[in-house]
Symmetry: C2
Subunit: 209 residues, 2 copies
DNA sequence: TGGGTATTGACTACTGCGGTCAATAGCGTT
DNA sequence: AACGCTATTGACCGCAGTAGTCAATACCCA
């Protein structure tokens, strides 16, 4: 019945998707209420079950839907052949910020889904996580040129440090976006990029030959 | 009635505390069930309400109880006068790992409590967070000697980098502890300290004069 | 045995859940 | 206007589980 759902006019379809995403993200699978979803999407109870069959059907549809958006926007735009670790993780950190900034609700939904441990959906979500997220993450760690680091430095440790710093920067931006509602409207990606470049330069000067 | 609870023999007291901590940590305030707590603590429903009056009373007792344990174990053992940032954040990172390793359930409970947004308890928890956690965190950022960094480096950025790396290291240990149950039993704090020292040396060599 | 405290668990009154399905609204075709 | 068909409704079902109460009982010491 999901193909029928996809033929709905866009406005209604998105109303339903957004209502469901919000409810699941806020309360987790078990505690999310289909009654709340239909109320805030302004549709009848019957219609939701007509399209998705069950609560679980709806949830798994959403996971798939959201992952596709992120895969299209994220992994497809990363250059996996870049061997300079600063450049590669620079790309990753900035792209991540950009995407979360663009789809904060989708990201929130994915985050809670992957740490949800309702027995009803745990297995399914774990499989998806493994086949999509973990695999791609591993790809990001291979084929890095470590000969550029200063000779007396442990390359593996330097790589870890660089990854932790890029993650730390990303988290600090995310934190500000989450904490301060004003920051969101005044947030300027290009100035974030400039600030990020400062850190990258510092790391290059500290660890590269 | 809580003073009476404190006079219980230790075994029973801890059985109740642990059952409640686990339930709240797993399901959040709203979704946690007093029925489940009494069942897994092996006491009667009446007894729980006899001691704590209400679900909220029990929850706030737990927050207070856990925070005290962490304050005693953490902030009291940090040397706030240490001006060398690597040493200060080195202390912090390792102490944090040690404490979480020692009381994983308490830490899990605090984490979920601070991000719980049930309206019933949100205000109370926010106040506690502000008066205990935020204040102390700010203390950790003042009185750092920045003259030790290489002259051409932006001291503020270097400090951020160092903090992100110590956090990244801490998180990586935590992740391993969480993911792999075997790792927990074979985990050796002193080898973690040695590994951590490696990172510290690398940072010192990269950023210090 | 009496008296006092610690502990029990059946009980209440209630809320909200996922899911169903007969009824109806809405629309294109004849 | 009348038919047929699909899209949509929402009252309803049976159930599970909730926080909290309180008369009854178990337990222990004098």
């Amino acid at each position: 019945m999901i193909d029928k759902f996809m033929n709905l006019d866009e406005e209604k379809r998105e109303r339903i998707i957004n209502a469901a995403l919000e409810e699941f993200a806020k309360k987790g699978y078990d505690n999310a209420s289909t009654n709340e979803i239909v109320k805030s999407a302004n549709i009848s109870k019957g219609l939701l079950f007509h399209y998705f069959g069950s609560k679980k059907g709806l949830f798994l549809f959403l996971v798939d839907y959201v992952i596709n958006i992120f895969v299209d926007g994220f992994y497809s735009r990363i250059n996996f052949d870049e061997t300079d670790i600063l450049k590669r993780w620079g790309q990753i950190a900035l792209l991540k910020i950009e995407l979360i900034q663009k789809h904060p609700d989708l990201y929130g939904f994915l985050l809670t889904s992957f740490s949800d441990d309702s027995k009803e959906i745990k297995k399914d979500v774990e499989n998806i996580d493994k086949s999509v997220v973990v695999d791609a993450y591993e790809k990001l760690l291979v084929n890095i040129d470590t000969s550029v680091f200063k000779n007396d430095m442990d390359a593996k440790k330097v790589m870890e440090i660089i990854i932790w710093v890029t993650q730390g920067f990303g988290n600090s931006i995310m934190e500000k976006l989450k904490m301060d509602p004003n920051f969101k409207s005044t947030f300027d990606m290009s100035s974030a990029v400039a600030e990020f470049d400062g850190y990258m330069k510092l790391l290059r000067c500290a660890f590269y030959k």
